[in-house]
C-alpha cells in the first residue's frame, strides 16, 4: 500500500510545462522524423548501371588499354559513385551511405563468387570430355603416349582407401583429444596439447610426407615386409592423418566450446556422471559442427598430392590392398597427367580433377544430411 502511495506522490512532483502553447516549443526544436520520403525508383539504378557500363566501354575500348575485365571494374566504380550521388540528391545523405554500402557488399560478394564459378565452369567444361566407361573402369596400366583411353579406376580406389583410413584414424583420435582439452584438461598438459595442435595446423603437406617416409616407409615397413622398405596406401593415409588431425581437433574444440554450460549443468543436476554427460548430451549437441570440421579436413586431405607421391609411389595399375605396394590417388593422377607428354593426358587430368571434386562434394552432402542441422543455430 505504502509503496503505491509513494509512487503516486513522486509522479505528482514532475514539473508541469508552463508555456502558453503547451509543449510546442520543445516539440519544434526536435522535428519528428519523417516516416515517408522520396525514394529512388528501381529503374534509376538500372539506368545508372547501364550508363556506367557504357561510359567505361567508351573509355577503355577506343583507348585500347584493356578488355572486359577492366570495363567491369571501371563500371563498378562508376556505378558506386553514381548511386551515391543520385541517392544523396534524391533521398538524402543517410540513405546515400546506406545504398553505397549495400552496393559495396554486393559487389564484394560477386567478386568472391566469380573465381569459384569460373573454376567450377572450367572444371565441368573440360573435365566432362573423358567421363566415359573406360575412365571409371580401367587403370593406366599399359597405356602409352599414343593410347587415347586409360582410366582412373586405380586412382579412385586409392583416394577412397587412403582418405577413408585417414578419417577412421583421425576422427576418434581428434574428437577424444578435443574432449580432453575442453572438458577435462586443466593446467599445463591441456595448454601444451593446444599449442602443438596449433603448430601442427601449419605443417606443410610435404613435411608430413617426409615424416611418414622416414618413420614408416624406411623404418617400420621393412620390419613388416621381410626387410624391404615399401610404399603403400597406408603410408599415404598416415601422412593424411598428420594433416587432418589438427583441423579436426581445432574445429571439434570450437564446437564443444559452443555448447552452453547450462546444458552440462542440466545433466549434472539429474545425477548424470560427467563422462555420460559428455557422451550423451555435449557430443550430440555439437555433432553437426564436428561433422562439418571433419569434412573440411577430409576435403583438404583428398586433394593432397605430395605426400601420396612421396610414400605411396603412385603406380599405374589397380591395387586394392592399401597395405602393400604402390597406390595412386586422384590428385596425384591429375598431377601426373597434367605433366604428361601425351596429347591425351590433359583430358584425363581434367576428368580426374572433376571426379575428385564431385567425390568430395557428394561425401560432404551425405555427411551433412546424416548429421542434420545444428541445434545451436537457432
Amino acid at each position: 500500500m505504502s509503496v503505491t502511495a509513494a509512487r503516486t506522490r513522486r509522479r505528482a512532483r514532475i514539473p508541469r510545462c508552463t508555456h502558453p502553447q503547451g509543449c510546442a516549443r520543445t516539440r519544434r526544436s526536435a522535428p519528428e522524423p519523417a516516416l515517408r520520403g522520396r525514394r529512388l525508383p528501381g529503374w534509376a539504378l538500372l539506368a545508372i548501371a547501364v550508363a556506367a557500363l557504357g561510359l567505361a566501354a567508351a573509355v577503355v575500348y577506343p583507348a585500347g588499354i584493356g578488355n572486359w575485365v577492366l570495363v567491369t571494374v571501371i563500371a563498378a566504380i562508376l556505378y558506386l559513385t553514381g548511386v551515391f550521388a543520385a541517392a544523396w540528391s534524391v533521398e538524402g545523405p543517410r540513405s546515400a551511405r546506406n545504398r553505397t554500402w549495400s552496393a559495396l557488399i554486393h559487389s564484394a560478394f560477386v567478386l568472391a563468387v566469380l573465381p569459384l564459378a569460373s573454376v567450377t565452369w572450367t572444371l565441368v567444361a573440360k573435365g566432362s570430355r573423358r567421363l566415359d566407361h573406360d575412365f571409371f573402369f580401367t587403370s593406366m596400366r599399359n597405356i602409352g603416349a599414343r593410347d587415347a583411353n586409360g582410366g582412373a579406376y586405380h586412382a579412385i580406389v586409392g583416394t577412397l582407401e587412403q582418405t577413408g583410413i585417414a578419417t577412421l584414424i583421425t576422427v576418434p583420435l581428434g574428437i577424444c583429444a578435443a574432449i580432453y582439452v575442453v572438458e577435462y584438461g586443466r593446467g599445463p598438459l591441456a595448454g601444451t596439447i593446444r599449442f602443438f595442435v596449433g603448430v601442427m595446423t601449419g605443417i606443410p603437406s610435404i613435411v608430413a610426407g617426409l615424416f611418414v617416409l622416414s618413420f614408416w616407409v624406411l623404418v617400420i615397413s621393412p620390419k613388416l615386409n621381410g626387410g624391404r622398405p615399401g610404399y603403400s596406401g597406408f603410408a599415404a593415409a598416415l601422412a593424411l592423418t598428420v594433416l587432418m588431425l589438427p583441423t579436426v581437433v581445432r574445429s571439434t574444440e570450437e564446437m564443444l566450446r559452443l555448447v552452453p554450460a547450462s546444458l552440462r549443468e542440466g545433466a549434472y543436476a539429474l545425477g548424470v556422471p560427467k563422462w555420460k554427460t559428455v557422451l550423451r548430451i555435449v557430443l550430440p549437441t555439437a555433432l553437426p559442427g564436428i561433422v562439418t570440421g571433419v569434412m573440411l579436413a577430409l576435403a583438404r586431405a583428398a586433394g593432397e598430392t605430395a605426400p601420396v607421391l612421396l610414400v605411396a609411389g603412385g603406380g599405374a595399375s589397380i591395387n586394392v590392398n592399401p597395405f602393400q605396394d604402390n597406390q595412386n590417388s586422384l590428385a596425384l593422377l591429375t598431377f601426373q597427367q597434367a605433366g604428361d607428354a601425351s596429347r591425351y593426358a590433359p583430358a584425363r587430368a581434367w576428368s580426374a580433377a572433376l571426379t575428385l571434386v564431385a567425390l568430395v562434394l557428394i561425401l560432404t552432402i551425405a555427411a551433412k544430411l546424416v548429421a542434420g542441422r545444428s541445434p545451436l543455430a537457432r
Binding site: S2, V3, P260, A261, S262, L263, R264, E265, G266, A267, Y268, A269, L270, G271, V272, P273, K274, K276, T277, R280, I281, P284, T285, L287, P375, L376, R378
Partner: protein, 258 residues
C-alpha cells in the same frame, strides 16, 4: 525420504571473489523454504552449493559444512553424482537438451541413469508432465524437439525433467519467473503437493509467492556492492512477513530497499 539440510558457515567463492559469507541455516525436511533478497546477493550461489553445482564453474569453491541427513556432502569421499541424484535442481533459465524430443527430455535423467523399460519411462514422463502442468499442452507432440516450446513451457519441461528422477530434495531457482499466473499457480500447487515427500528450497523474487508456498523464509542481502552476500534473517514465513525482527528485512518486505 525427505532430507534435513544443515549449512554451517558455508562460504562460496568465484575465484578470489567471495560471493556469500558464512551462511548458517537448517532446512527442515518435508517443508518449503523460500530464499528472498535483492539481485546479486548470492541466493543462486547458495542454492548451487547445496547440490555441489557451484564447483562446476572453473575457479569456484565452497568452504564450510553442508550436511544432508548428517552426512557432510563436502567430505572428500562423497560421490558428487550421488549427491546430485538425491538433490535435484531447476535452473533460473530453462535449459532443455536441444537434441532431444520433449519426451526424451523428461526421461533424460532416468534413461541416462540406466532405466530402459519403455512402459516405465512412458509412465514416469506422463506423471512428471502432469505434475508440471504441461501434459495437456504437449501430449500430442511428445516427439517434437524440446526447444520448440515457448519459454514458459520450456521451464515447465525442465521442472518435469527434475521431478521425473524423484529426488529427495528439490532446489528451484526462480522457477516461475518466466511463467504466466496459471502455470505459476500450478507450480505452487506442485510444490505444496511434493512437500509431504520432498524437501523443497525455492529462490524467488515474488514475495507473495514466498508467503504463499513457504514454511520458512530466509532473507539474503549484501551490505554494499562488492561485499559478500549474507543471511540477514531466517525464520518462519509468518514471522518474516508479519513481524520481522531485523529492520533491513522489514524495509525489503515493505519495498523500501536501498
Amino acid at each position: 525420504m525427505a532430507k534435513r539440510i544443515e549449512a554451517v558457515g558455508v562460504t562460496a567463492y568465484y575465484g578470489s571473489f567471495k560471493a556469500i559469507d558464512s551462511i548458517t541455516m537448517t532446512i527442515e525436511p518435508k517443508s518449503v523454504t523460500a530464499l528472498i533478497g535483492p539481485s546479486g546477493c548470492g541466493k543462486s550461489t547458495f542454492l548451487r552449493s547445496i547440490n555441489r553445482m557451484h564447483e562446476v564453474l572453473p575457479g569456484a569453491r565452497v568452504e564450510g559444512r553442508l550436511t544432508v541427513d548428517d552426512q557432510n556432502i563436502y567430505d572428500p569421499d562423497v560421490d558428487v553424482t550421488a549427491v546430485r541424484r538425491v538433490i535435484g535442481m531447476v535452473f533460473q533459465r530453462p535449459n532443455p537438451f536441444p537434441t532431444m524430443s520433449i519426451f526424451d527430455n523428461v526421461v533424460a535423467g532416468l534413461r541416462l541413469n540406466g532405466v530402459r523399460s519403455k512402459p516405465a519411462l512412458a509412465e514416469a514422463a506422463e506423471r512428471a508432465l502432469r505434475s508440471a502442468n504441461l501434459w495437456d499442452e504437449v501430449k500430442d507432440r511428445l516427439n517434437k524437439p524440446g526447444a520448440s516450446l515457448s519459454g514458459g513451457q520450456q521451464q515447465r519441461l525442465c521442472i518435469a525433467r527434475a521431478i521425473a528422477v524423484e529426488p529427495q530434495v528439490l532446489l528451484m531457482d526462480e522457477p516461475c519467473s518466466a511463467l504466466d499466473p496459471i502455470s505459476t499457480l500450478a507450480i505452487e500447487d506442485l510444490m505444496l503437493g511434493l512437500k509431504d515427500r520432498f524437501t523443497i528450497v525455492i529462490v524467488t523474487h515474488n514475495l507473495q509467492q514466498a508467503a504463499r508456498v513457504s514454511d520458512k523464509t530466509g532473507f539474503f542481502s549484501i551490505d554494499a556492492a562488492g561485499e559478500p552476500g549474507r543471511l540477514v534473517e531466517y525464520d518462519d514465513t509468518e514471522k518474516i512477513f508479519g513481524n520481522p525482527s531485523v529492520p533491513k528485512t522489514r524495509d525489503y518486505i515493505a519495498g523500501r530497499f536501498g
